[in-house]
Symmetry: C2
Subunit: 180 residues, 2 copies
DNA sequence: TCGGCCATGTAAAGTGTTACATGATTTC
DNA sequence: GAAATCATGTAACACTTTACATGGCCGA
């Protein structure tokens, strides 16, 4: 589903991870690593990169360190401003409405001792815990008798699975936070 | 190939579940039960309903059985054609590309002995199993040394969590299929 | 009777996908 | 040297959200 501009931040995160990156390489990243959390086609990425250059979030660089680099590819690196924008975005608290940003932001955290990690996990934990409570409430109100289950079996399954999934999520987050 | 519309099928499924339903009631459903799998605002739903009436998938009905029904609401029921369209959609096999349709389709299956249930679960199981294999492959290729984990900790976490989540999914599906 | 919610409808703008296009490089 | 792939770019279209708009009903 369409959300508020997320693509530029994803691109910032990708470039930040590799120091410099070409548009084509970003397309490949979307095909492999990122595809779980976000999708973008090359027809989105290339214009977006141009806009980001215009906004001075990134700049075109010639990769001196790698003579292997394909000359046909245009490489980009973060500007000072780009670093700031990325950090601000990562620091922005998660809300229940767009908690699907969690795996995305988590993906961009490089080290275990990043000061961004704990707040992110804590925020998602709160959201997931609320969700478990909400789903359990729905289950008890919607399915009060066995016949309610029999006549809406698929609904019952999706709700039950949702509770199970979200509960596992909570447990995983708690375990991670303890280990920090 | 233009992206396939899903909204009309969701509406068909909702109406089918309740025999007859008003646009407003559908909006409410989207706010509560469906929100996990699909979202739609009223500005999408109302025009879509009109299109579906034009296509003769649904028809406007006056709910005789419920005098309680609000006179301001327009109620819809499935036509013969609508039933067929819904069934055809539910029977359409899941693909890895749009496996997010699984919870949605499952939601619309009413009874445990529906002949649609087993194929649906089987298809999703195959997709999830493939996914586990793929994710595990990524993990071993991307993270070969402990230092790979340390320098891309967030990536490592999302990948690990993805494997865990999908594995749980597989187990749930297998348990369900056995119990059938 | 007035402010608020109900119930529906429409318009505009943002976001994303598919299709179309092109030069450059690799491969057979 | 023809075919396939690389790498980028643009155009058209599909989908969704936000905002705008309206008449009816209901409680204070």
């Amino acid at each position: 589903m369409p959300k508020k501009r997320t693509l530029p931040y994803v691109l910032l995160g990708l470039i930040n991870d590799k120091e410099q990156l070409s548009g084509y390489q970003m397309v490949q990243e979307f095909k492999h690593e990122i595809s779980d959390f976000w999708t973008a086609s090359h027809s989105q990425i290339y214009p977006e990169l141009q806009r980001m250059v215009d906004d001075d979030w990134i700049q075109i660089v010639t990769p001196a360190s790698q003579p292997e680099a394909n000359r046909n590819q245009t490489y980009y690196a973060l500007t000072e401003a780009g670093h700031t924008v990325l950090l601000d975005w990562l620091r922005e608290p998660l809300t229940a409405k767009d908690s699907d940003l969690f795996p995305l932001k988590l993906f961009f955290i490089k080290t275990k001792d990043s000061e961004l990690l704990r707040p992110l996990l804590t925020q998602q934990l709160a959201i997931s815990q609320d969700r478990v409570v909400y789903l359990k409430g729905r289950k008890t109100t919607v399915f009060q008798t066995p016949s309610d289950i029999d006549s809406h079996y698929g609904h019952y399954l999706t709700l039950s699975r949702g509770i199970e999934r979200e509960t596992n999520y909570v447990l995983w987050l708690q375990k991670l936070l303890e280990a920090l």
